[in-house]
Symmetry: D3
Subunit: 280 residues, 6 copies
Amino acid sequence: MPLPQASLKTIVARALREDLGRGDITSEACVDPERPGEASLRARERLVFCGSQLLIEVYRQIDPSLEISPRCRDGRMLQPGDTAAMVLGSALSILAGERVALNFIQRMSGIATLTRAYVDELPQKSATRIVDTRKTTPGLRLLERYAVRCGGGRNHREDLSAAVLIKDNHIVACGGIRQAVQRARAAAPHTSRISCEVDTLQQLDEALDAGADVVMLDNFDDLRLRDAVKRAAGRALIEVSGGVTLERVAAIARLGVDVISVGALTHSARAVDLGLDLVV
Amino acid sequence: MPLPQASLKTIVARALREDLGRGDITSEACVDPERPGEASLRARERLVFCGSQLLIEVYRQIDPSLEISPRCRDGRMLQPGDTAAMVLGSALSILAGERVALNFIQRMSGIATLTRAYVDELPQKSATRIVDTRKTTPGLRLLERYAVRCGGGRNHREDLSAAVLIKDNHIVACGGIRQAVQRARAAAPHTSRISCEVDTLQQLDEALDAGADVVMLDNFDDLRLRDAVKRAAGRALIEVSGGVTLERVAAIARLGVDVISVGALTHSARAVDLGLDLVV
Amino acid sequence: MPLPQASLKTIVARALREDLGRGDITSEACVDPERPGEASLRARERLVFCGSQLLIEVYRQIDPSLEISPRCRDGRMLQPGDTAAMVLGSALSILAGERVALNFIQRMSGIATLTRAYVDELPQKSATRIVDTRKTTPGLRLLERYAVRCGGGRNHREDLSAAVLIKDNHIVACGGIRQAVQRARAAAPHTSRISCEVDTLQQLDEALDAGADVVMLDNFDDLRLRDAVKRAAGRALIEVSGGVTLERVAAIARLGVDVISVGALTHSARAVDLGLDLVV
Amino acid sequence: MPLPQASLKTIVARALREDLGRGDITSEACVDPERPGEASLRARERLVFCGSQLLIEVYRQIDPSLEISPRCRDGRMLQPGDTAAMVLGSALSILAGERVALNFIQRMSGIATLTRAYVDELPQKSATRIVDTRKTTPGLRLLERYAVRCGGGRNHREDLSAAVLIKDNHIVACGGIRQAVQRARAAAPHTSRISCEVDTLQQLDEALDAGADVVMLDNFDDLRLRDAVKRAAGRALIEVSGGVTLERVAAIARLGVDVISVGALTHSARAVDLGLDLVV
Amino acid sequence: MPLPQASLKTIVARALREDLGRGDITSEACVDPERPGEASLRARERLVFCGSQLLIEVYRQIDPSLEISPRCRDGRMLQPGDTAAMVLGSALSILAGERVALNFIQRMSGIATLTRAYVDELPQKSATRIVDTRKTTPGLRLLERYAVRCGGGRNHREDLSAAVLIKDNHIVACGGIRQAVQRARAAAPHTSRISCEVDTLQQLDEALDAGADVVMLDNFDDLRLRDAVKRAAGRALIEVSGGVTLERVAAIARLGVDVISVGALTHSARAVDLGLDLVV
Amino acid sequence: MPLPQASLKTIVARALREDLGRGDITSEACVDPERPGEASLRARERLVFCGSQLLIEVYRQIDPSLEISPRCRDGRMLQPGDTAAMVLGSALSILAGERVALNFIQRMSGIATLTRAYVDELPQKSATRIVDTRKTTPGLRLLERYAVRCGGGRNHREDLSAAVLIKDNHIVACGGIRQAVQRARAAAPHTSRISCEVDTLQQLDEALDAGADVVMLDNFDDLRLRDAVKRAAGRALIEVSGGVTLERVAAIARLGVDVISVGALTHSARAVDLGLDLVV
């Protein structure tokens, strides 16, 4: 479940180079390098915490002599004032890494918190999944999909080469759903299911007849969704997609769909508020 | 004014590796490599467009034979349905790059659009600046600050080594505002102004006396802001910071402050909706 | 179907740095920089050609003024003496890139040739696939899986995050096949099929009962394979794995299995012989 | 004698990114992160082991808390069933790195094993060297030349800038062997010997007269080799090259040549079989 | 005050790859890998030492089991024969990293030593600063500006985006000093001072009138400098630039200028002599 | 003879990222993006020009629409005022790349100029070579060795793996010159000569007896040099090393030594003066 170290190191090194330049000239001017410090990372609003590995890696790259003590696991709900971690060591080092660490954690916790809000809308014991999309921040997909999992969501396909998803443009370019599903079935790795986006009930029938494993209902209202689930009758997994708001989640899940995919989890989560306060 | 090419190439290459893996297996299965295509990038809501260089670079890296024709400049306001650019060439190549291009452009346009909303709240002929902060997405600061400028905002310091900004933690660690300002003045490049965050009017006086060039008023309400502007009396630039909402912008600007810095411009802008539609 | 440019450039740049160091001191000493040259890339044995993009990219990075004219597509069978491509321009540049270009092409063509040999063993109209594995050369998976496709094979899952494949170690660690399949089903992206390796017929029954989408029969002899296909009875795709030699392919395919996966395609293909001859 | 760390890290990080993507979704689903494990790396055939540093670096990058205990040095001959190393720690971490570690080690051990086979063909006390060529896998030359040394072979020049080797194409482009050797002598670092490939006995005489330090006899049969050694009479080192099979090694060495270079050591070694078995 | 680790690692890894290639073949041939060694880094002339972090990082990347014991801080003046650090561990590892470590340290100490020479020319209690420029070695600016600080100098702006400096070419392109200063003031971050280069006293007046924060007097002789300081009368900081030799420093400083910037500190410092001697 | 493109691109991209940050804020503020410009790169002192490829690559990465017209080849002697190249296109782009281009060219031309000074000291028709060392700027060895060649010098071994050079420390660690030479001969690629540093005439005899191909006389005065040349009597190449000043070159060369190696060529060349003047 931890994030792969090799990728993590690269991402953090890039962020530090971007923010530090030749160094933190303010802290170097104002803070004695020998001065010890202790800082606590605290939630300033209700949130699902995510990013402890980032805190550790940021500070390991800045100053390996710092001690980082996580106080909670990723995925835990925090109340305002709760402490997520403590950082102990050179005050100068703590200050130099503060912003980069927070930039990662506020963003990841924001995604985890929004995902949790969606998941909490699911009826009890619902088998419906809340999943992310490929609408992630360029360069940070690894972190953002992890944050979705920490919020209780699941991941969609990793990238364009991991699985097949036939969209409207493919159908147009291919000359129809049947052809598209068949060509994809023939060409794709046998480890991949074949998903097919449909915009109408007629397309749904075509996709089911063509043997799609997953049908993605794009922008269906609740009425048509109900119809669609009935027609599918278990022949394929049903994924609902397209601007699903928090308010609609419960109703959609009750129809018995398998998956609700939500681009907003990653492309429009706001950063949540956490602070790193020097307590000594 | 264009983004530096060397950095742009690196950022785009990273994003393409992340999303393409070994290639777009769906499009390869469904779309004939010889099939020509034409796609239009269109706004699906009212927005400030930003990111034409990203569109060009993404597609240059995927397939240099594609023709990209921008139809508007970055920073232009688009209405729903307006076309921002056309892409002409292999349909397979167009589809393979669609998501990465949109991920960049929706995010950058989202930031530009939110910035514009803040700037539009300024009273006419106001000299107050709306500026960003270092609360940017790790690895994408270059793009995000550019988007802020396209929305009519200005940039704060580039990174920790570009200029001095003394914050509460520095004051604590240094033993007072006077010492902090003096040490920073002595150590910083002579090209940098000395900014100092203050939380109270008393701290404001100290900072002014110590000769700070910029005082950053953190989380002041309107009443105290008025007081602060009066006390400063032109001795330093005044920057207002800390959860400034759209609603407060006009009132704050009317007090005559020089700068309003808004972290939300980059850390909490939602992606705006643009689509790339295969028209042929 | 072409290889992603961004990754290709990185791979080729790395190879050139590795072989060129500060430059080709022999050619610089012996060849006048103005001397024109023409070279033909020729097969020296019967082989399936693969790697024209590599030839182009190697020489584009060395000297963009060279003209590269491919004479055949990747995947084409060549006889000894057949020309795969011509290179026209500075003789010095042609010589400097010769070895790196050949190192790529001989390896990729070797994989394509071996794959074709496996595919040619399949009975006519057989629906059985020959697929590769994750036993690829570190850093070159992209190229090697492409070569497999050029030889008429198909690709297995891209990497560890693209799809689920439960192996013996997972079964041990998880406490049984049923639990493993259920946990994988719950955790994996809904776009992934669940594959399960089995070593015995009893394990096969367990995997089928647990609802595995694909059963991978590891090191089964032909007799047990026949039994296994009967038991599966279409409830899951059947993949055969484990030291399948060319000689066994036809017999295995006739049993009606869906997939034969062969690690040797990438980990033990020998380089085939092609040469780049300066004809002028 | 160990491989340079800085390069090793880069190579391993690249391989892990390639295989792990966002993580090992199968192991994450099936294996409890707290579950301890112990695995033994075992030979499954007779082989020369090579790659212990890779095992260590792969697992250090995945999970620094794992304990890796090598049981034999690189270059040691192992029998089927012999243990090369033990890995102790989180079962999840062990599984996640298994394939990448094996991909490196099977390839490197394959090269070491093939090299040893060549070296073992040399007559006792022979002064003849078995050496590799520049026909290495792009990006992995460092590892492959190391594997050759572990098998008892020696390395040829590192890259195009390390030493001079005049080939047929250079001779053509330069207008003759004499000119080529002279120009190379004048231009090359004084630390480099001048090697010259010859295809005929007449060319051999020219090269010797021109003062080549090393003559590389390309595709000479045994008869002509004997002649060549006699003519050279110690005036230059003699290197034999071009499709030398295991069967010819002893006879060629007995002629008293100094060097036999064999491209197949690196471009056509098959992977040897080692496995990583979870013993607990 | 320490250099940022992430950048340091990258710079050192690059240098080691450049110098080591596949490894130090001389030391590997001549030195038993088990042989212990002890080496002392010693000054061979009078110099200001700089670069202890580089020594540590070079050897950490080569062999983490080495013990590095700095004997003096960066910025300390050493006499010939003084020891700057001790290195203890494998003799083979010590030799392999010797040249790279020295290349960094000799260069950085050279810059620090030259800077100190300039600083020592300042009259006692002078408030004038000696600062560097952007004329640094491509890729090593971070290290070189650090070395300037270790020599008692200060840094100019970090890079083109950190602060505004209007030069003659900008004035020409902009149509005059007044316009240039105004446009820069409007566009630059409010954290940046506006510096303006002037070549004549008339330009000086224009720049002062336009409100430049810093005026950079380029190639003024002492007479005109005196005049300029008088005219400025404290309205702007005064920076003197352009071929300032050691001999002129004292006289210029006595005029009361704020800053003397010297490109030679980084572009023309000679390497000073330090050696790493194997004492055991 | 041109520098390898792949490495060149990487070096230039790194330098541009270092100097540009998010962009040239001064030029962006002051210069209209549409404004055309023409600049000439001119020598401001007598120098050997070197670096035209860097000029081209810097500006290609900044703005591919610029036209760069070299007016002289690398290695050409220029007089003050001579034009080395013209740059035509957007004034803004020209200004943004000016410093980075000059930083490369001034340094490379500085090395070429100093090398030429050494070469010009050689007696007419002298066969003695002036060569560089491994004392190059970390990360820029490629460029600096090229500059040495442009100044008429030759290169020493490329790096630690290209050839053997036994130094005093190796002799100590190995237990004597004879053993060191023998072990190196046995272990090194047969393409490498064996060089051995000697500090005394006795060591010289030992090295010659042991069969060293090159003896490097370290810090010998002219008298001992004369003796050494006589003793060597053509049995080995003679390299003279250690603080050779311009004044001593002619005398040393007249003794008939083969090589004079000079670390100062790269570690202590001062930057020569060239400027890029906007002529329109």
